[in-house]
Amino acid sequence: MALPASLSELSDRELIERHLAGDDGSAFGEIFRRHRDRMYAVAIRTTGNTELAADCVQDAFVSAFRRASSYRGEAAVTTWLHRIVVNACLDRLRRERTVLRRSADLGELDLPDRRDDHHGTDLRLLVRSALESLPEGQRMALILVDMHGLSVVEAAEVLGVAAGTIKSRCSRGREALAAELARRGYPPSDRQEGTG
């Protein structure tokens, strides 16, 4: 077995192979080190809540560790990880929303109050709030493609749908998002005049 110092030189696929062969955990540790920030960002953008995102990304990495044999090598390791993280987030989000709906308590979610939607509202919160109003499929397509920079093909693999579906979801999602933001007063009229 090569020295642990050489782990950083191995590809993601080689690390998974080494993990499946039964190493001391260092190969998967390297996978975690390489992808943790990106997966955390996906989780934050998917859930919109730091606590939920933390739980989801932990669930996802533990799940990936245990089910590494489910990686068949057809897609990039990062795509496989994206899929696990996104699924963990969506599962958790659906459960949390059910609980919140039952208790009518939105206090735990980092969602902005709609009453605060005015020209001075922070753009991030405004967009986050507007994204929440979109159907899940459109929202995830926009998060992965427009916010996270995945290609249409990669996003299709992550979400388990056809590339054409992602394209149409992005297109319809952008239109819906623009309409929702306009309804909430974005862009501000003074900015529209300035940029026009």
């Binding site: 642990p4 110092a5 001391d24 933390a54 739980d55 932990q58 669930d59 990495f61 991030r124 916010m147």
Partner: protein, 252 residues
Amino acid sequence: MTTPPEAPHDEDDPTGMRQVLHSLPDPGPMPPDLVARITAALEAERRDTVVIPLIQRPRRVWPRYAAAAAVASVALAGGLAVINVLQHGSADSMTAGATIQAESTTGGQQDQAASSPKAPVASGSNATRDTAYSEAAQTSVHMSNRSYAAQTLALQAAATVANPGPTTLPLVGESPSVGPIATPIGARDCASALGVPTSSAVVADLGTAEGEAVALIVATDEGGARTAYLVKRSCHSGHPGIIAGPVALAAS
């Protein structure tokens, strides 16, 4: 990987929303406390895998291997922590490693105590603290990852009770993929859901059945009669999740 993606082209997006979404700030790197938490969870997963082969050794030599496993676990956890720091210079990795090392030491002591199968380990702690801990003291939890089957449950359960292997370490119950049943209190809670009286001793073993994660629960009443159940790992008060059993085991 935190490199921002290439700025999108707007030709195919007359709404301008792609540019708006792309311009939003990155959430930033994973916080160090979360890195440490996940590192510890992954370490717990790895350690579960490492101890499995030791359980299948002949019973006669078991105590010697239990001691070796405890020492190896401590050394490996410490070694990994050092490797983490050497590779990444990460203080949080070292913190996580040190935590695991402390847990491993505790677990090792439990492992040695568990080598006598007729004396369930007081892994809960002080028996006078409260009822829950008193019941937990009569409960031992193991993780053999054995493959159980409903048809052979009685035989397999008897074999597990005779040679249960090391108890689980405290951190294992923290793993979301294993859950509270990996702790004495969680296993006792499951036993209560099965109708096992609090006076009975309980041995729980985490394994699989037809590829699914399950737990074997063996209750021994005050008269020495033993009953086995195969349950889902989600088994808890009010939701036993019985897969097979109850099955009476032959007297030992």
